[in-house]
């Protein structure tokens, strides 16, 4: 058959199928060939680029950026939220809400959820979950100690509790400070029955919700009074550390930085954290770009929820 007429058939079939929405059997009848033949014509039309299918993302969605980040950072999924401006307030609120949506649509009743604390984004997440519990989980497990020693904020416990309530899940608390004064003190903490019980759940989690920290303690964290000192931070920086997840620090490529301070942290261990099937990092802000990138590259998180400004910066940085 003349190639020109063949092309005409391909084009016609493509038009009928994709534009006029005609079924393949009907096209087959009209073109006097079998349905299998039409299927083949259509495959050819795709291969030869006669049809082009394009997705135009609605305002406020960023699927290309998400794809790009997921592939460049080796993540399973990236959610990029639109955000009115790049202030920390706006970012925290928008990614918190998105994270809530993400949880709402992916959480199963059988999930055992770990939660790191000291993150305003995670607080926002919890607050955006519907209070009426149609979204459920089995357990909500606090991943790091968080009790403030000089204020009665009990922030980490509060967050864990609130999340557990909203998810109609049984909570597991740490009830101790996240940073012990010495490694021996940490050992003592870990011997506490509460803590042992909770830590026993770490290897059985299905999801973890974590913030991603930078070396400079966030205002939030500083206010809690529960952070490393400037000297300690400087020492970590000297070892190449750029950020942390649950106070487990890593360098710019995500490689774990081992350091004596590690021994004072009362939290899920790096190996246990890496064994959690789905770690969801919720973070945004220009000061966090480097640590987010590192957390992703190092495999500390599988899912990233961030805002469009941070996402842009990450994409730019990743493409260098």
């Amino acid at each position: 058959m003349k190639p020109e007429y063949e092309l005409r058939l391909v084009t016609k079939a493509a038009h009928l199928y994709w534009v006029e929405q005609v079924r393949q059997v009907d096209i087959a009848a009209r073109l006097s060939l079998s349905q299998a033949g039409v299927s083949r014509l259509l495959r050819r039309a795709q291969k030869e680029g006669i049809v082009s299918i394009s997705i135009k993302p609605p305002e406020g969605t960023y699927h290309l950026l998400e794809e790009e980040l997921a592939s460049k950072l080796g993540l399973d999924e990236v959610v990029v939220t639109s955000c009115p401006d790049n202030s920390d307030n706006a970012i925290v609120s928008s990614i918190g809400e998105a994270a809530a949506q993400y949880l709402a649509s992916t959480l199963r009743e059988s999930d055992r959820v770990g939660i790191s604390s000291w993150s305003s984004a995670l607080v926002a997440l919890s607050e955006h979950l519907p209070a009426k519990g149609q979204i459920k989980a089995e357990r909500v497990v606090q991943l790091m100690g968080g009790m403030s020693h000089d204020r009665a904020e009990h922030l980490a416990e509060n967050l864990t509790l609130q999340l557990a309530n909203r998810l109609a899940a049984r909570p597991a608390f740490m009830h101790v400070a996240g940073i012990a004064s010495t490694s021996d003190a940490r050992k003592v903490f870990c011997e506490e029955p509460y803590v042992r019980e909770t830590m026993a759940l770490f290897d059985d989690l299905t999801v973890a919700l974590v913030g991603i920290g930078t070396l400079a303690p966030s205002q939030f964290l500083a206010r809690s009074g529960n952070a490393f000192s400037d000297e300690e931070l400087a020492e970590l920086a000297g070892c190449g550390a750029v950020g942390d997840v649950c106070l487990r620090f890593f360098d710019a490529n995500g490689q774990a930085v081992s350091h004596a301070l590690d021994e004072r942290v009362v939290a899920i261990s790096a190996p246990s954290l890496k064994k959690v099937p789905r770690v969801v990092g919720v973070a945004g802000g220009h000061q966090k770009v480097a640590s987010i990138r590192a957390a992703a590259l190092g495999g500390w998180i599988q899912v990233l929820i961030t805002d469009c400004f941070t996402a842009e910066a990450l994409a730019e940085k990743a493409s260098l």
Copy 2:
């Protein structure tokens, strides 16, 4: 659920499905919903115009023009061929070839094919059919008399014979002139056994291949010596006739023009012609635009095969 996140899901599903070619079940798994849900998201994506599918016709194909003509002229199918220039030679050759392709891909072995003659495009059609007969028909039936009275060309018979040979079909000839000198003479012709036999087949055709004539006899037709005189043509024109199929004349809207000359034509009758399920008109050239349009509007043909220049002119005319 927040409409923004919902949109994100729709977009994501659309991207995965149409760009990444992921199966709905796999998308469902990734998005944590059922396959039915994905199907619904995708439907929404189409409805809301998030996906746009466009067909870009390869060089030399004219599917939009074909669609337009088919709908405006009320035809089942239109084939528009590309054509190097708008000379009659180029047109006849290209539409002849296209018509051959069309026949090749739509003719069944059980088809009974009528053929009008006196048309250079039909000659080209026949010549472009592969001589080795993989395309077959049951019968090839001459629809009009065509024997020249002063030259031994036997053109119509030749065409019928050639077509029958190429289609491995049994031919049925008229063996008389297409225009009798008087209506009585026509009656005598029609009593001829040959003619009666052939005409008996007219009501049982499945396809007819016809040229479309203008009032000014074509050079081809004039040379055959078998045409109406200038006075007769003027008379027809006076009745509003603009063209003919098988010497059955019609006006600009395709309404049959009845006239005494009708009684002298030895050919398939207008009613019989209109009963043929699929009449394929093969014609092109700027002088034929009006008669092609009329033939289509009057329901004389169901399929039109023409060139891109004529098609453009038809589309322009039809949109007025």
